[in-house]
Amino acid sequence: MANGTWRNTRSRGYQMPLAVLFVLAVAIVLVGKAQTTLFDSARARVTDWMAPGLKVVHQPFDWISGWWADLGEGYGVYKENVRLKEENARLRQWQTYAVTLQARVKRYQLLLHAVPDPALSSVLAHVIGRAKRPFLETMILDAGKDNGVKPGQAVVDARGMIGRVFLAGEHTSWVILLSDLNSRIPVVIEPGHAQAILTGDNAKAPALDTLAQGAQVHEGDQVISSGDGGILPPGLPIGTVVADGHGFRVALLADPASSQDVEIVDFKNPIEMPSAPTPKDLPVAAAGLPPAAPPPPPVQQTAPAGNQAVAAPAAHVPAQPQPKTPARKPALKPALKPADTTAQPPADTADDQ
């Protein structure tokens, strides 16, 4: 095709640069592997620079995309309407039930002095770009560092979680979708509370990996974010479990292809600091306590030779000074008391009330 004007001009001078460029390309791959953020700042700057143009360009594409999606749905509008009415009636019942349960949970939390759930703030952003490449599925939002967006934050729409921010520019941010090859999200499958990792593989429904042995998972179970790792908030709705023959996948609630406005959730998980150690947790010398009493002497002095080996460790103890009060057993009793009290059934306290 179009090769009629070709004339052989091959020059062997190209071979050497090609070899050098090949080595350079391999070097870029290796450096990129070692430093994964090699291109990130450049990408963020390019996207920031393109943001105003993208907003304008994206509108007709959104319109075409929506029109294309609606075209297929136009045929079953009546049936869909009937189905949605039935579903709406069912969901109203569930809503009433959920409100009742929510009130009950709040009462229980008050009674138990439970730590309240961390407050979530969010930034509303508009989708100004989408890209689907073989090795990356992403969307670009018109909110960046200026709006408080940081990499790692969850992105949700009205239906559920879409993905998380992986690159934040000044005015724009890139979102890695849950279905992307590089996406890994810790999730919980309810009602069995099975822990799993939601693994994207560029398929429409991401896979559920590393399910614990014996975990009970059924088709139709709900998948929510677990919050493990403290980056994503727990409880974000993600999807429902579907079986694919080889294992389980998750039919996502959100549809990134049609989402126009999304929320970037800012989750500040309070860092759990370990409690200050009590003197009992510290080594004897650091706690300023008198050294531990040596083990009581064997009752029978005429023990056989084999038992002497059991008492042998006591040979290390004499290096420490001998305590003046040999009996320290009573000091151990109060420490055991709390464990004993928690083991008791709460029937007594209930009776007292």
Binding site: F22, V31, F39, G129
Partner: protein, 175 residues
């Protein structure tokens, strides 16, 4: 004097057009706008001018520009660094080695020639991606990109042929 300046202008234009089209194709292919709801992946628009002029006028498409276009593809596509740079250089090497075989093709053969080059590019990118993440990525997205690239090559090769005839032209003995 006018003839000389006109000659120089046409020479500069001829040198600039192939590379510009390759960079422009990469930019367009990586525009983050999803046509048809993202059902179809974007074709490798940057590879088409590289393939075309590497056969027709390799003096205007040296390997450095294949490297640069691959680097731009990497930067804009958001994927791992160096994947497409490596893929484009490997593809260029193939075209360069087999230029006689590729250049003799016409019609459907020319499309199959590009399909071979695009398959090498996609396979190289797939292999690097697999090594990068140390697992086997799904094949379907790469196959989709390959199919779209081959389909799009038909009209774009006609466009590139027109541009070549009007703006670039064949190699002259006095160049």
């Amino acid at each position: 004097m006018d003839r000389t300046s006109s000659f120089m202008a046409s020479r500069i234009l001829a040198a600039v057009v192939p590379v510009t089209l390759a960079l422009l194709g990469t930019l367009i292919a990586n525009l983050p706008v999803s046509f048809l709801g993202g059902i179809v992946p974007a074709p490798l628009l940057g590879l088409m001018p590289i393939y075309f002029w590497c056969l027709v006028r390799p003096d205007l498409m040296p390997p450095f520009w294949a490297f640069a276009v691959g680097l731009l593809e990497d930067m804009l596509s958001g994927g791992p660094a160096g994947v497409w740079t490596f893929a484009f250089i490997v593809t260029y090497a193939l075209i360069d080695r087999q230029r006689d075989a590729f250049a003799g093709l016409s019609g459907l053969g020319a499309i199959l020639g590009f399909a071979t080059a695009a398959a090498v590019a996609c396979a190289s990118a797939y292999a690097v991606e697999a090594l990068w993440y140390w697992r086997v990525p799904p094949l379907a997205p790469v196959m989709g990109e390959l199919a779209m690239s081959v389909i799009f090559y038909v009209p774009i090769a006609m466009f590139l042929g027109g541009v070549h005839r009007r703006l670039v032209g064949p190699l002259r003995s006095d160049f």
